[in-house]
Amino acid sequence: MSERKPILGGSPIRKEGRAKVLGAAKYIDDQELPDMWFGATVRSSIARGTIRSITFSPEINWEEFAIVRASDIPGENTIVHLTKDHPCLAANEVNHPEEPILLLAHPDKTALIAAVRGVKIEYDELPGVFTIEESETAVENNDVERIIWPGSDQGGTANCFKTYLMYSGDAKETEDGLATAFENADFIVEGEYHTGAQEQLYIENNGVIAECFRDATGGIESLCVRGSMQCPYYLVHALTLVFNLPEDKCRVIQVETGGAFGGKEDFPSLIGSHAALLAMKCGHPVKITYDRAEDMAATTKRHPSRTRHRTAVSKDGKLLGGTIDVAIDGGAYATLSPVVLSRATIHAPGPYKWPHVRVKAKAMATNIPPHGAFRGFGAPQSLFGLERHMDKIAKTIGLTPEEFRRRNFLATGDCTATGQPLVEPVDMQGLLTRALREAGYHEKLARFAEENKTSSIKRGVGFASFMHGTGFTGSGERRLNSLVYLDVREDGRPEILVSSTEFGQGTNTILSQVAAQTLNLPYESIVVSPVDTSIVPNSGPTVASRTAMIVGKLVERASLQMLTLLRNEEKLPEAHTPEEFKAAALAYRAKHGSLRCSVRYEPPAKIYWDDELYRGDAYPGYAWAVYVAEVAVDMNTYMATCTRFDALQEVGMVMHPVLAKGQIEGGVAQGIGYALYEKCMWKDGRMMNNQMTNYIMPTSADLPPIHVHFEEVPSIHGPGGAKGIGELPMDGPAPAILNAIENATGVAFNTIPLLPEDIFERFTSFTDPELGGTEDMDPAVDRDTRVESAEVSA
């Protein structure tokens, strides 16, 4: 009989963990191929202009080098994500600093440093725009010189990659409703909130090795690129265009990947194409690995953002209506900005009931290296604005942040701002109660208020309530049409074949748990195939918190299909032992030559999404959370420190408690960095602090104890009742921390990152009118925001 401990919900050892703790796991830079050369990239030194000339230093023997320029590209000079505006190599014009122009390869890695310097490029410079505001101004003034992106037949207008206009109901009815709401409001509260760029800072830089195979006539037969990446089929797609080859001639292999966080979602399409072009040119395998400075200066970051709220509220603390304007800085090319903006748009109204809400969103072009995917993907930006604004409204109308939120939370049966009915249970009230209790919030609120009167260390507590949608937005999963295979190998062990990649989050482990649990086999017996596009099907990209819920469900269905097959064909008993399973599977294989169950995504019943109106079921499921931060602000050094963090979430059933805690803690740590440490310094579009020495991420000594709590409510969408978890923890920390800082100091800060110099500037401008001048002395009102009207009647 087969009564075994449940595998889902247990914490079996990470599948590839042993190799990792031994130092035996082979990352891309640990690998070499015979006769391999090394590649390097010659990049633009200016933000915007046209290339006048390229000259090669006579001191270098260029015959030893392979050189690739835009004109060598056999297919289209484009790295396509959504729009074909992004060149693989700049041909005539450059649109951001560090834009790739030429590629060099040489058998000796050390020869490349001087060679890159030996290429002299002269430009005719054009004016650039470097912020959302500069980009908008150029459009408003019709400043043709500063229209840096013309629009595209695939969407977008001058300097603007994408806009969304999302209404909580019919457009006209919502506009009318908003007009009435603002007319009848007891309070109208406005606010503006800013977030900075953030570097993913995976500890392993981007890297790939490419090979190009020729046929008998010397034509390009096929390509093989292996590397550190999240989405191998994205790179396959990129290669088909750059080389004008069919998909099956573009093989991509993901190797052990040393962290990604979105930073290896879209970028590998570029570096992978570059290495393949050099391999084509020199006839050798070519490895390109960036060093830290190049990786930080040239690759994607989180989109900077600006969110403006205008909210109508009744005196009993009900939201009557609101307008939310979100703008993100997309950098020089569209890349993934439209989809990042989509998630920012849908998450902007948060876990609240809005009788009427309108969200307007836009992604602006700037002459900065394109911003890209980073854990949270737009949601951390708009949720930062929302959750700071909720505290502001509470303060304005005289309710506690807790009470104000309680009067407006979404609950089971309500509709979200996109009109999605919340069919599965949602209990924000219960989550808030428990989170505040776990954190000791009320006791601390009272105690800190007392202690702060006599201390130069001001302490405070704050929280954020939020949700994160699991999987691709709207019709995205339907379009992805993901496919998974479950095989039984020659040795009788089941093997999962998916394009979902492991980069630390635990893909290999949780998918094995799902298969083992469903097949009623030991976890150890499950094998996960290497992610090689010549053998695994396209189960979609490893992004959007979709692997556990979407791909996990497909693995569960494939496992069920396999059991049914073996029961019907091989008389596998209902309650089988591992030995009986193996015997049945091998008997089937002996008859048919192989055993494979293949399962394709099927949209859940009644899921409806309108891409035009941006209405309907935005995500199959949501994870819900309340995060509580405790802070200390030292009024001598102006250093704000997070001193304790409590993260409570409802993510369905927890598949692997150790991995799940690790995901939450890691995300919270990145969120604390986002709020208090990590500042990208820009000059004319170039990141100036592109080193770990001066871009500061939290160390083990900087972080507070992070307490992770789960509420478990099974979801029908994921395997074993699970939902997505990966991105959620990025959304809450920054607003919770800045809310706590306002509680500690009485001053509202609405821009992150918030560094000691920012706090210093603010406080010294209060006390010294000579220095500051324009600052309002009332600490409850901050410079970025404005309370439009006081209470109309008492």
């Binding site: 963990g17 703790v21 130092g23 690790g662 083990s700 000594a701 992070i706």
Partner: protein
């Protein structure tokens, strides 16, 4: 070029390399010990940490010449004949390794920490690992791994 002699993981090595070549590259390229990783190349991240005469150093900052006569230990020398060291076992069980790229350096830093403080306080753990950056874990699982390794070592000592 200079002939440099040292021991790595108990094995004597004699190699002819440019004297200013980074010890990190000597280990990875000349000795094929790729468990030692490069994260930043400027001594900030600790992915290249090794034990150098028992001290924790960032091998990206050490010129090869300086290693002459030294006794080095890399991640490959922590386990014995495929048997995990208790520290490695604790990292494996407690979720101390996620993407794994910081793990070799982190395990050597833990080794060094527990040599110095067999029973470390949380502050000593935080301080002792502050030179090793991890972007995945938020360090909490790593702290638990270190605490469990210390506890196990102490229990072993108490028994013997």
């Amino acid at each position: 070029m200079s002939v440099i002699q040292f021991s790595v993981n108990g094995k004597r090595e004699s190699i002819d390399v440019p004297p200013m070549k980074r010890l990190l590259d000597v280990l990875r390229e000349d000795l094929h010990l790729t468990g030692t990783k490069e994260g930043c190349g400027e001594g900030e991240c600790g992915a290249c940490a090794i034990l150098f005469d028992g001290e924790l150093v960032n091998s990206c900052l050490v010129p090869a010449l300086q290693a002459n006569g030294a006794r080095l230990c890399t991640i490959e020398g922590v386990s014995t004949e495929g048997h995990l060291h208790p520290i490695q076992q604790c990292f494996l069980e407690k979720g101390g390794a996620q993407c794994g790229i910081c793990t070799p350096g982190m395990i050597l830093a833990t080794h060094h920490l527990l040599d110095k403080y067999p029973n470390p306080t949380m502050a000593q753990i935080q301080e002792g690992l502050a030179g090793n950056l991890c972007r995945c874990t938020g360090y909490m699982r790593i702290f638990e791994s270190v605490q469990q390794a210390a506890q196990q070592a102490n229990e072993l000592t108490a028994k013997s």
